[in-house]
Amino acid sequence: MRQLDLRRFPGFFAVTMLCVVVLYAPLMVVAVYSFNASSSITLWGGFSLDWYADVFTGPEAPKFRVAAMNSLIIAVLAGCGATIIATAAAVAMHRAGRFRGKTASFALINLPLMVPEVVTAVASLIFFTAIGFSGGVGTILLAHLTFCIPFAYLPIAARMQSIPDAYEQAAMDLYATPWEAFRLVLLPLMMPGIFSGFLLAFIISLDDFLITNFVKGAGVETLPTAIFGAVKQGIKPNIMAISTLMLGVSVVFVTLSWLIGRSGQRDKA
């Protein structure tokens, strides 16, 4: 009797290819059309970089530049803030033994993942209006900081799970204070997790449209809300060029976090 290859199922490779085509076809098509020389978004008029030039120097360039700066500032600040908060939380959850409110704290950290995004958006708008904060970069930043915490926490906690406390115990046996044991021993070991946590929080902040759209107030735009506004008037080639640029940024970030994750794994081995 022929040996059955138990890892193989007929048709699974085809489905995988279908999955890849579905995931990439729309992005590839937009990337290709962003190099279209024709101003029509339907007909192919040859290769050109005109729309990329338009993104940086065209009539809409100042608007998109301001939006991109806002997005970047918010993502960096929210990412850093969330990473610091999540690092402290991860140390408490993994190095403070049992304490009252541990389960509640764990639920709280994950709460932003469980509440639907549109609900968070509505609640934030109501809250900021009720306390008299007018929308702007500040309200966007506070909202982003909140929902970035669990995303920063996940990789940091995962990393901490694989760090035994023997190193810190050893340091403290040699008269390191708990703070020194943290700063000189635990923190360096946590670094790959902290870095992936920051990257994830940064991307999640950069990605957000819905919550931002609710709390941003009039006249303040981030890149996604500016793109959304432009798309509502119809998809123009410059939008495709911006999209392709953002696609490029994302690819760079994934590769970066992938390489960091790999180096982290090598440490473990």
């Binding site: 403070a96 541990k102 509440v115 609900v119 609640a123």
Partner: protein
């Protein structure tokens, strides 16, 4: 949700007693900027609407009444069930459910295929599947809109090959929204299933094969039950965000494919809005999601106990 509860080997007590200080920032930020706002939203859903947007602090059940009951144009007829909003919720549940099933049908074979490659190819395939997850959701949805427009490349290609003789008319339909949801959340399905399949012990398959089970019997009776936690986690990760999705229905759908996300958003835009009603709709959405998550959490604990 996917995170493991802390504890086990790495739990230690070096910073015992410092937990309150270390967790204070988390409690302040998430407490003040999420818990308090959600509580405030719950209160707002019982307040009276102010016509310029906003609320008057007078308690009323008007928002929930408007959601569930139809009292005629002037509000003086005997109440009957108002189907408008229930239909929108039902459509959202249906669309999210269908997207979940489609993601499962495509996601499981994909995850299986990736998990059974050798170690090096596995990382490459994983990277291929994760890259789209990192690409801005708005941009992905806009790309999908561009692709399936009537004048878009998909129709152009199909017309050129002669498969169709006029554009499919996909855009602004429920099908387009479905495609958008499926495309948005597919990576969420693949990753948890992959994690489950990677841990699968093939000795189980071999044992079943020794007992003359064929390939598909093994899949049905051995593999699927073993990797079920991964399947369920993937379904939750696709269903929950699909239910409250805004971008896919807004950009790809039309008036007949309106979903909860858009219904809520509309209540907070401009003077035509109705904040208490929007808050009530958001409360109902959150209740549905919390029920799904509670059922999931209970099934998890039951399985852990078994």
């Amino acid at each position: 949700m996917a995170a493991m509860a802390p504890g086990g080997a790495s739990s230690s007590e070096i910073y015992k007693g410092n937990a309150p200080r270390l967790l204070l920032p988390t409690w302040v930020v998430i407490g003040v900027f999420l818990l308090v706002p959600v509580a405030l939203m719950a209160i707002y859903s019982f307040l009276t609407k102010e016509f310029r947007g906003g609320v008057i602090w007078e308690f009323t059940l008007a928002a929930y009444d408007q959601f569930f009951l139809d009292r005629g144009l002037f509000g003086d007829e005997p109440p009957s069930i108002e189907w408008t909003y229930i239909t929108i919720f039902w459509r959202s549940i249906w669309q999210a459910g269908l997207a979940t099933v489609l993601c499962l049908l495509i996601g499981f074979p994909t995850a299986w295929f990736i998990a059974t490659r050798d170690a090096r190819m596995r990382t490459v395939w994983l990277l291929v599947v994760t890259v789209p997850y990192w690409v801005n959701l708005l941009i992905r949805t806009v790309s999908m809109k561009f692709l399936i427009r009537d004048e878009g490349p998909l129709n152009a290609f199909l017309l050129w090959t002669g498969v169709i003789d006029q554009p499919l008319g996909l855009i602004n339909t429920n099908l387009a929204v479905q495609l958008g949801l499926f495309y948005s959340y597919l990576p969420f399905m693949v990753l948890p299933i992959y994690a489950a399949v990677e841990r699968y012990d093939f000795a189980l398959s071999e044992a079943a094969a020794d007992l003359y089970a064929d390939r598909w019997t093994i899949l049905r009776l051995v593999i699927l039950p073993v990797v079920k936690p991964g399947l369920v986690a993937g379904c939750i990760l696709v269903f929950v965000p699909s239910l409250g999705a805004f971008l896919a229905p807004d950009l790809l759908g039309g008036a007949k494919s309106f979903m909860i996300g858009s219904l809520i958003e509309e209540q907070f835009k401009g003077a035509a809005g109705n904040w208490p009603f929007g808050a009530a709709a958001a409360m109902i959405l959150m209740t549905i999601v919390m029920i799904v998550l509670l059922v999931y959490a209970r099934s998890q604990t039951r399985e852990a106990a078994a």
